[in-house]
């Protein structure tokens, strides 16, 4: 089998990379499902709650450390 010209090889290998990108976007998007209707306020509340949980956990650890010391 004769090797195609260098430009064709380069273009072909770049097209493979592009195909990989498209397949990944399709597969991951399908796995995630529709996300356009995400409620920002719900998300912000969730983040705030996570932060508060982390802070509480840290305070608890600090208190435990002080009690041990």
């Amino acid at each position: 089998m004769r090797r195609p010209p260098a430009a064709v090889q380069m273009l072909g290998s770049l097209l493979v990379a592009l195909a990989i990108v498209l397949v990944v976007v399709a597969v991951v998007s399908a796995r995630l499902g529709p996300g356009g209707g995400v409620d920002r306020e719900d998300r912000a509340k969730e983040r705030q709650q996570q932060r508060e949980d982390v802070l509480k956990e840290r305070e608890k650890r600090l208190k435990d450390l002080r009690d041990d010391g």
Partner: protein, 143 residues
């Protein structure tokens, strides 16, 4: 910064991050195949070593952009917390090793013999960083 990242991702920061990081991870697998051809370890009849090495560089440039974008977004939006220690360490190590690889490619040609080691390290760190964040999110739905 947090608001900017959220605006760019239109409120779907974790999802956008998962898509971009997954593209980088998939391209990294392709990079391995390309560089095996580039070093002449495998000689397919349809792809020369030179063309494979050229695409390896082009695809690598795209991966760097993705890694930097995801890293900045991740740090700006999620910050550093105790739960993601492994992810934060591998992510930081990935940026350092990637920077070292680029430095060797651009300026320190004499250290070129370390490129395969650096490339393998970049791949492994990218894989672990992806697994501990996007992979975990895609598998369990928890960010």
């Amino acid at each position: 910064m947090e608001q900017l990242v959220e605006d760019i991702a239109r409120g779907n920061v974790t999802e956008v991050k998962a898509v971009l990081a997954s593209i980088a991870a998939a391209l990294a697998v392709y990079q391995l195949i390309l560089i095996v051809v580039g070093y002449g370890k495998v000689r397919p009849p349809f792809l020369s070593a030179g063309a494979a090495a050229w695409t390896h560089r082009a695809s690598g440039d795209a991966i760097v952009v993705l890694v930097v974008a995801v890293g900045l977004g991740c740090l700006g939006y999620f910050g550093l917390d105790d739960d993601g220690a492994v992810h934060a360490i591998t992510g930081a190590a990935l940026v350092v090793v990637l920077a070292a690889k680029i430095a060797v490619l651009r300026w320190f040609h004499g250290l070129g013999r370390f490129l395969p080691v650096l490339g393998t390290l970049v791949f492994l760190l990218l894989a672990v960083t992806w697994l501990t964040s996007a992979g975990h999110f895609l598998a369990t739905g928890e960010s």
